[in-house]
C-alpha cells in the first residue's frame, strides 16, 4: 500500500480499496469487474481495463513496482500522478476535487483474479454469546470466525441465558455486538417471554427497536400460540422462525430413527415426526397469513411440504445446515459426539432431497447453526453431549464446494435470500453497485484447504471438519469497506480491539440501528 502525502493543514484523506480482477456474481448476473470502495461504500464498478479505475490500478501497481524495484519509499511524484485521475471517480468526490486537496490517503488492492466476488454472506442461525455474560471476547471471536467464513452479517439466536426477550437485553446484545466489528451481529428476539412457550414477548416494542426476526430457537409445541405469534408479527413486518422437531411431539432423540440408531441402541427421532411439526407450522401460516421460517429442516418429507406451501403462495421459508448436505446418520455410528446434531443427520435419501431443495430454491437458506462450545462439552456420552459445534468458518466452504450444488444456488442460499429474509440487504447479500455499503466477499472456488492448515488462525476448536479437505476458500471478507479477512487470514483481534474505538465503527452502528427499523 502506497501512502500519499497529505497537505499540511488540510483534511485527512480517505483510503480507497479496489477489488481487482474478480468475477462479480449477483442474482441472475455475472460480469468481470473491478470494484472501488471509499468510506465504506462502493463508488465504482468498472469493467476490467476500462475507465478511470483501470488507470488507478495500473498506476498503483506501478507505484508498488517502484517500491519493490528500488527497495525504498515510493517516489512522491509517482503517487501524486495517479491522485489526479481520481478526480473523475464520481460526483460524490467532486467537492474535494474542486478544492484541489488530496482525496485518498492510500489505495489498497485486493487481488481477486480467478475469484468470485459476491455480496457478503448472511447467516440466519448462529449462537454468539450470552447477552448478560458481558463476554465481549467471545463475541469478537465469533464475529471473526464469521468473517473467516465470508459472513458480513449474522442473526444471533436469542436462546441465551437469560433469553433475549426485552429491550434491555437487546441493548446489551447490541453493546456486545459493537465490540466485534468483524461481522455485523443482528439480534433476534424470542417469540415468547423467557422462551417459556406460554405467552408472547413484547414483540412490537422489539420490532420498533429494529428486531425483524423472532424465534424461540426451539420446537413450538403450542399450535395456538404459534398462530397468535404469526398474527401479531404480521403487521410488524417480522418473521417468526420455528424449529420443526419431533420434540414438539415428544419424540426428541439424539439420532435419526432407523437402522443405524437401532443398531447403536440410541433413541431415534422419526423423520415423520419432523414432517408432522412442519405440517403443523405451515397450517398455522396458512391460517394466519403470517411470515413463517422453518429453521433447519432435515427430512425429505419436510422439503416437499415447504415446496407445496410455496406453490400455494404462503409466505413460508426454510433453512438447512451445511452439514445436513454432507452427513448421514451412519456417519455418527461410531458415537462421535462432534456428529451429534440437532436435528439429527438422516438418510442418504433425505440428504439428496435437501440438496435438491437448495438447488430448486425450495430451501431458501443454508445456515451454520454455529454453536461455540468448550471442547470438554463434547467429552461426554453421546446422548448427554450438547449438539452442534463451531461451524461459521466452514459452512460456506461446504456449500460452495459441494459437488451437487450450483454456484448460483449456493450464493442464493448463503447470501442473497437470507439477506432478504432477515431484511438486512445493506449488511450483506445486497446488490453490488455504486452507493451501496461495501459488504463483500472474495471466494476462490478452487483453493484447497483444511482447518488444520490454518492452525491457530482458525477459531474453530470444536469441529468435525479439522481434517476435511475443502475446495472453496473465502480469501477476503470486506465489511463496511474494511478487510476483516485478508488472503484467508483474519485481521487479528488486537487490531479489532483498537478499531472498535474508531469513529468509523461507532458511526456504522448508529447507522445500522436506524436502517434496520421497519
Amino acid at each position: 500500500m502506497a501512502e500519499v502525502e497529505t497537505q499540511p493543514g488540510g483534511p485527512p484523506g480517505q483510503p480507497m480499496l479496489v477489488i481487482v480482477g474478480g468475477e462479480v456474481v449477483e442474482r441472475g448476473r455475472r460480469r468481470h469487474a473491478d470494484i472501488a470502495v471509499i468510506d465504506g461504500r462502493i463508488v465504482r464498478v468498472d469493467p476490467p481495463g476500462r475507465g478511470p479505475l483501470a488507470q488507478v490500478i495500473e498506476r498503483e501497481r506501478g507505484a508498488l513496482a517502484t517500491i519493490s524495484h528500488t527497495g525504498s519509499e515510493a517516489a512522491p511524484g509517482a503517487a501524486h500522478a495517479w491522485v489526479d485521475t481520481i478526480y473523475d471517480l464520481g460526483p460524490e468526490l467532486g467537492e474535494g476535487a474542486a478544492s484541489g486537496e488530496p482525496l485518498l490517503s492510500a489505495v489498497e488492492l485486493v487481488d481477486a483474479t480467478r475469484c468470485v466476488v459476491a455480496s457478503g454472506f448472511v447467516d440466519l442461525c448462529a449462537r454468539v454469546a450470552e447477552p448478560l455474560a458481558l463476554d465481549g471476547h467471545m463475541m469478537q471471536v465469533t464475529a471473526m470466525a464469521a468473517a473467516m467464513g465470508g459472513y458480513t452479517a449474522l442473526v444471533a439466536q436469542p436462546d441465551t441465558d437469560p433469553p433475549l426477550d426485552r429491550l434491555g437485553q437487546l441493548a446489551e446484545m447490541r453493546h456486545l455486538a459493537a465490540t466485534a466489528p468483524s461481522c455485523h451481529v443482528v439480534a433476534a428476539a424470542t417469540v415468547t417471554a423467557a422462551r417459556a412457550g406460554t405467552h408472547l414477548a413484547p414483540m412490537a416494542q422489539l420490532a420498533d427497536a429494529g428486531v425483524r426476526w423472532f424465534t424461540d430457537a426451539d420446537p413450538q409445541a403450542d399450535w395456538g400460540l404459534l398462530c397468535r405469534a404469526l398474527q401479531y408479527a404480521s403487521p410488524l413486518g417480522a418473521t417468526v422462525a420455528v424449529r420443526p422437531s419431533g420434540a414438539a411431539l415428544g419424540m426428541a432423540a439424539p439420532m435419526h430413527e432407523g437402522a443405524v440408531s437401532a443398531r447403536m441402541g440410541v433413541a431415534g427421532e422419526p423423520a415423520d415426526a419432523e414432517c408432522a411439526a412442519v405440517a403443523a407450522a405451515i397450517s398455522a401460516a396458512r391460517r394466519t397469513g403470517g411470515r413463517l421460517h422453518l429453521d433447519r429442516i432435515s427430512a425429505a418429507g419436510s422439503v416437499e411440504l415447504v415446496r407445496t406451501a410455496k406453490a400455494d403462495g404462503l409466505d413460508v421459508s426454510a433453512s438447512v445446515t451445511a452439514e445436513h448436505l454432507l452427513f448421514v446418520d451412519a456417519d455418527a455410528a461410531g458415537f462421535d459426539t462432534l456428529l451429534r446434531a440437532e436435528p439429527p443427520y438422516r438418510t442418504a435419501a433425505d440428504r439428496t432431497a435437501l440438496v435438491a431443495g437448495v438447488n430448486d430454491r425450495a430451501i431458501d437458506a443454508v445456515v451454520s447453526a454455529h454453536t461455540p462450545l468448550p471442547p470438554h462439552d463434547k467429552d461426554l456420552p453421546f446422548d448427554e453431549a450438547p449438539p452442534g459445534f463451531a461451524s461459521l468458518e466452514t459452512c460456506a466452504a461446504i456449500v460452495l464446494g459441494h459437488p451437487d450444488i450450483e454456484l448460483d444456488a449456493a450464493l442464493d442460499a448463503l447470501s442473497w435470500r437470507p439477506a432478504e429474509l432477515a431484511g438486512v440487504t445493506h449488511l450483506g447479500g445486497g446488490p453490488i453497485e455504486p452507493g451501496r455499503p461495501a459488504n463483500l466477499v472474495v471466494i476462490d472456488l478452487d483453493r484447497p484447504w483444511t482447518q488444520l492448515d490454518r492452525g491457530r488462525k482458525s477459531f474453530a476448536r470444536v469441529s468435525p471438519h479439522h481434517r476435511r479437505p475443502m475446495r472453496a476458500q473465502v480469501t477476503d471478507t470486506i465489511i463496511e469497506g474494511s478487510r476483516s479477512v485478508r488472503s484467508s487470514y483474519p485481521e487479528m483481534p488486537d487490531d479489532l480491539a483498537g478499531d472498535r474505538e474508531s469513529n468509523r465503527f461507532h458511526g456504522r452502528w448508529s447507522w445500522f440501528a436506524q436502517e434496520s427499523r421497519p
Partner: protein
C-alpha cells in the same frame, strides 16, 4: 483381535469361536481346588462402573482375581454432568494410575467406544454393557452356555486342546421381551447368528426398533439376517424353539406407554406355567435378575430348575470363565495356564 472388546460384531465368527474355545480351558481352571492361575500377575484391571451392577462387576472382578491381576474398583454417578467432571477427565484420572485394562459400564450407549479412543496404547477397554447398545461378555457367556448345553465338554487331561468347534448350527432360539431397550439382546443376536443359529425375536411392536426388518438386514448382512425372524406371537413360535431366551421387562416401560399393563404383557409374552408345559425339550436362559411373575412365573422357575432346563446358574458360572478368557486374550502375558505356584 483388536486391543479392545466393544461389540461382538467386531470380533466376527472367528474371534467369537476363539474366545469360546479358550473359555473351555478357564472352565477347567474353575474346577480346580485352587481356581487361580498366574496369567495376569502384575497386571491391573480397573472396573469403571458408571451404572450400578452386581453380576457383571462381580464376574469381572472374580475373573481378574483368578488370573492374579490387581483390581481397581471405581463407581460413579451415572451422569458425568451431574458430577461436573467430563467423562474423559474421569477416565484419564483412572488411566494415570497405571492400568492395563478397563471394564466400562455406562447407562449411555457408546461410552466404551469413546473411552477406547482416549485410551493410551497398551490399555484395553472392555465393554461391560453400554446403554441399549451392547453387552459383549454377556453375549459370549450366553452363547457358551448354549453351546456347552447342546455339546457337552469332553473331559480330558487338564490343558489338552479341545477338538470341537463352537457351534449352534441348526438351533432355533427365541429372544423374548424388551428387545429395543436391551443390550443383551443385541449381543446375543450377534453371538448366536455368528455360531449358525436361527433366531426368532418375539416382542410387541413397541418393544422392537421401529423398522425391525431394516435394522436386522442392515446390521447383520444377508446370510445371518436370513436366519432372524420377527414375531409378535409367542404362542405361535413356542413349540419350535430349542431355547427361550427371556429378557428382563422393566416396569418403567409401562409408564413410558410402551405396553398396556404388566398383566397384559404377562398374558402375551410371559413364560407362564401353561407355556412352560409346551416347551418340550427347550431350555430357558435369562440374563438376570429375573422379575418373578413378569417375564417368568415364580412356579415355572422352580419347575424348570428341577428339570435342569433353566440355565441361569450355569450362565453365571460360565460368565466368570468367559471373562477370564477375554481378559487373558486382551492383556495376557502369554504365561501358560499352570496352577498358581503360590509365589
Amino acid at each position: 483381535m483388536s486391543g479392545h472388546l466393544l461389540t461382538l460384531g467386531e470380533l466376527g465368527t472367528e474371534g467369537i469361536s476363539e474366545l469360546l474355545s479358550l473359555t473351555d480351558r478357564f472352565v477347567e481352571v474353575g474346577r480346580r481346588p485352587i481356581p487361580r492361575v498366574p496369567a495376569l500377575r502384575g497386571r491391573t484391571v480397573a472396573t469403571l462402573f458408571f451404572e450400578e451392577s452386581t453380576r457383571t462387576r462381580l464376574a469381572f472382578e472374580t475373573a481378574a482375581k483368578r488370573l492374579s491381576a490387581d483390581v481397581l474398583n471405581f463407581s460413579a454417578a451415572s451422569s458425568s454432568l451431574a458430577k461436573g467432571e467430563s467423562l474423559r477427565d474421569t477416565f484419564e484420572t483412572v488411566q494415570a494410575m497405571g492400568i492395563h485394562a478397563a471394564v466400562v459400564r455406562h447407562r449411555s450407549a457408546g461410552v466404551p467406544a469413546q473411552i477406547a479412543r482416549w485410551a493410551d496404547d497398551g490399555v484395553s477397554i472392555l465393554n461391560g454393557g453400554d446403554g441399549w447398545h451392547a453387552h459383549p461378555t454377556q453375549g459370549l457367556q450366553d452363547a457358551y452356555t448354549l453351546w456347552r448345553h447342546f455339546t457337552p465338554m469332553v473331559d480330558g487331561e487338564p490343558g489338552t486342546e479341545v477338538a470341537d468347534e463352537p457351534t449352534l448350527a441348526g438351533r432355533r432360539i427365541g429372544i423374548v421381551g424388551d428387545i429395543v431397550h436391551s443390550r443383551v439382546a443385541r449381543s446375543d443376536i450377534e453371538a448366536y447368528t455368528a455360531l449358525g443359529a436361527s433366531i426368532v425375536l418375539v416382542a410387541p411392536p413397541t418393544l422392537l426398533p421401529a423398522q425391525p426388518r431394516e435394522w436386522i438386514d442392515c446390521w447383520l448382512g444377508p446370510d445371518a439376517a436370513k436366519r432372524v425372524e420377527i414375531s409378535h406371537d409367542f404362542d405361535d413360535v413356542l413349540g419350535d424353539l430349542d431355547v427361550v431366551g427371556l429378557l428382563r421387562c422393566q416396569r418403567e416401560r409401562m409408564a413410558d406407554g410402551l405396553i398396556g399393563s404388566i398383566p397384559e404383557y404377562v398374558a402375551r409374552y410371559g413364560l407362564t406355567f401353561q407355556r412352560a408345559h409346551r416347551l418340550g425339550r427347550a431350555v430357558v436362559t435369562h440374563p438376570g435378575p429375573m422379575n418373578r411373575g413378569i417375564e417368568i412365573a415364580g412356579d415355572t422357575i422352580e419347575d424348570l430348575a428341577a428339570k435342569d432346563r433353566l440355565l441361569v446358574t450355569r450362565q453365571v458360572t460360565y460368565g466368570v470363565a468367559v471373562r477370564m478368557a477375554v481378559l487373558f486374550r486382551l492383556i495376557g502375558s502369554g504365561t501358560a495356564l499352570g496352577a498358581d505356584d503360590g509365589g
